[in-house]
């Protein structure tokens, strides 16, 4: 689709905004509707749009397999690691109140970090799924 000028330009314009929106949804998640799941999907959709317009190969150059894979693993680790930190601080697993001296601040930090982990994982997984399907077909016999 890279030959369609209109599509290309619009896509280029849209993608940053989609990403920005994803970030908004991500970090506003503890005040209003939103959170890592939604943000991750939105973020990935920006990326998928990029791949659709500029080709899967170009997209793979931007996010090679190892980046996606690391993203998946890293997100999970951030989520779980937060729990471990609260363990190390002497509280129960995932008890964010222990993260800071002030329980409310702790809860705040905790949920942000956790949602960040979720967001990274979801975005990476969505991208990975897209790559898994989009990359098929051209390689082997259908």
């Amino acid at each position: 689709m890279r030959h369609h000028l209109v599509v290309r330009v619009i896509a280029k314009m849209l993608i940053p905004f989609i990403m920005l929106f994803a970030l908004y949804v991500q970090f506003h998640g503890d005040f209003g509707p939103g959170g890592g799941f939604q943000a991750g999907v939105i973020f990935a959709s920006a990326f998928i749009l990029y791949a659709l317009v500029f080709g899967v190969d170009t997209a793979r150059e931007v996010a090679p397999d190892w980046v996606v894979r690391t993203g998946i693993a890293l997100g999970g680790l951030i989520f779980g690691g937060t729990g471990v930190v609260s363990l190390l601080k002497g509280a129960n697993y995932l008890d964010y109140s222990a993260l800071k001296p002030d329980p409310v601040a702790g809860q705040h930090i905790g949920i942000l970090v956790i949602e960040l982990g979720v967001g990274i994982t979801v975005a990476s997984v969505m991208t990975a799924i897209f790559f898994a399907f989009a990359g098929r077909g051209r390689k082997g016999p259908g």
Binding site: T70, L77, L87
Partner: protein
């Protein structure tokens, strides 16, 4: 240092967190080592928990500091501590086996994904067992199921793909049924915590919603545990999965589902409702006996030994369910005990098959000719496991059979006792079919002595020796099973 009060959560978190670490490490050896550490640590924790619980009663852990019934509670009592030990133990032993088996069957390039998925599956199974929250159970169930679909599809044979797909469809239906059941219960009671559910359900037995929920839960879990006739996904899945996966799954996945069944029947709904007001005892008994005979008979006619063992699993699940269906302390004890013993026996047998695949490259019965000479240790392991399956004295299988028969006689059902024993003779037929092939048929030309490497033999024999050990010294297994049965039935 992280104190031992956090053991319940570490039990799940350790494998769950080390799974992504495997992905990050990438190297086959490193990933294997990580997975090995995780699974053995999980086993250690499980043993510690079991000892704690046997000594000091149930342990409860509030995740995130949110107390039950609002937060997710991890709850360890005699029943699930025992199951945890089995699952983690098998997981740890199979992990030793996995290194060479995976290298051979999956290849080192993708091995790290295998280990990561394996750890996820382990974490899921442990989570299902340890959680005290009905919905959280669903989540863990799906974690373990999804990863097991992946693991199965890694099999070399292309039929593994379709087997995984079938399992995915049926497994998802089962899980969704469970979800419906939990939803209905939530609607009636407004809680998801199991103990809380049990309390609030008291006096609500007449409600139609409760009964429907009960039916959905029973059918959904029965699908997961491959209760005859809902077992169609199992034979193919076991037959075509990689050896290490089959060994692991056969010994753990269905067992954990059986544990869930126990929880639902005895803890959530209570004996009175499950067996008194619902005709569950009769239904389970009928299905169990049908499984014992039908699946064993089918097993006799299989030429693929892994498939044969898979059908045998369906039959053995019948024994376990039969014990549960008796709803007496001895019956449930027999069921839980057989759950344990069968995990060891079938795990050992499937690992022995893994050794055979490693060297012979086939699980077809014709290719096993003369195996007694070619792979004496592997063949001996198979025979020892087979004897356990039949229930010959001095093997673990005998102990479970003893308790089952005893439970049947205690209830005065002598004909059930006779049926149990009769059906175990079918096992003689299919086990002996293989034994004759291995020992009484000369190997083909040019077949030298090619024993499996130690890395495969040692874990196989660990399980086999354990299955013999627990046929001789039953204090730990039968004692823990008795505690579990008492806990579930609330008899002290």
């Amino acid at each position: 240092m992280i104190a031992s009060v956090h053991f319940p959560v570490l039990q799940i978190v350790l494998p769950l967190l080390l799974a992504p670490v495997c992905v990050l490490l990438r190297g086959a050896r490193l990933a294997w080592f990580t997975a090995l550490t995780a699974s053995w640590a999980a086993f250690g924790i499980a043993v510690a928990l079991l000892l704690d619980v046997l000594a000091g009663g149930p342990i409860s852990y509030a995740v995130g500091g949110w107390n039950a019934p609002w937060g997710i509670e991890l709850r360890v009592d005699a029943a699930n501590a025992f199951v945890l030990t089995i699952v983690a133990g098998i997981g740890a032993v199979v992990m030793i086996f996995a290194r060479e088996s995976v290298e051979h069957e999956i290849g080192n390039a993708r091995a790290y994904l295998f280990y990561a998925t394996y750890l996820l599956c382990l974490a899921g199974l442990l989570g299902v067992t340890i959680t005290g929250d009905a919905f959280n159970l669903f989540v863990f169930l799906e974690i373990s199921s999804l990863s097991s679909y992946v693991l199965i599809s890694l099999g070399k044979d292309r039929r593994a793909l379709y087997a995984a797909y079938q399992y995915l469809i049926l497994g998802t239906i089962g899980a969704t049924f469970y979800l419906i059941g939990v939803g209905l219960l939530y609607q009636v009671t407004g809680t998801l915590n199991m103990l809380d559910l049990a309390q609030r359900l008291e006096g609500q037995e007449g409600l139609r919603g409760v009964r429907v929920a009960f039916a959905f839960l029973t059918v959904g879990i029965s699908l997961k545990l491959a209760l005859f006739p809902l077992h169609f996904w199992l034979p193919n899945a076991y037959a075509y999965a990689p050896s290490a996966v089959t060994g692991f799954m056969a010994a753990t996945a269905t067992k954990v589902s059986i544990y869930v069944l126990l929880r639902v029947f005895f803890t959530i709904f209570g004996v009175e409702f499950s067996f008194g007001q619902m005709p569950l005892g009769e239904i389970l008994m009928f299905l169990a006996v049908a499984a014992m005979f039908a699946a064993s008979t089918v097993a006799i006619f299989q030429n693929n030994i892994k498939r044969m063992l898979a059908y045998s699993s369906v039959a053995q699940i019948g024994y376990i369910v039969l014990g549960i269906g008796m709803a007496s302390v001895t019956g449930v004890q027999a069921g839980v005990l057989h759950l344990f013993n069968h995990a060891l026996i079938k795990g050992g047998l499937f690992l022995a098959m893994g050794c055979i695949v490693y060297r012979i490259g086939s699980t077809h019965i014709d290719d096993l000719a003369g195996l007694g000479k070619r792979m004496p240790w592997t063949a001996a392991a198979f025979v020892a496991g087979g004897l356990g399956l039949i229930g010959i004295p001095l093997t673990a299988g005998f102990i479970s059979k003893w308790y089952l028969v005893l439970a049947a006689l205690e209830k005065g059902w002598w004909w059930i006792a006779v049926l149990i024993l009769l059906s175990s003779l079918l096992a003689v037929v299919y086990v002996w079919k293989v034994v004759e092939q291995m020992y009484l048929k000369p190997a083909g030309e040019g077949a030298g002595r090619t024993e499996a490497p130690l890395g495969l033999l040692v874990p196989t024999w660990i399980l086999i020796i354990a299955s013999i050990w627990f046929g001789i010294d039953t204090r730990l297994s039968a004692g823990a099973a008795l505690e579990a049965a008492k806990t579930l039935l609330g008899a002290g």
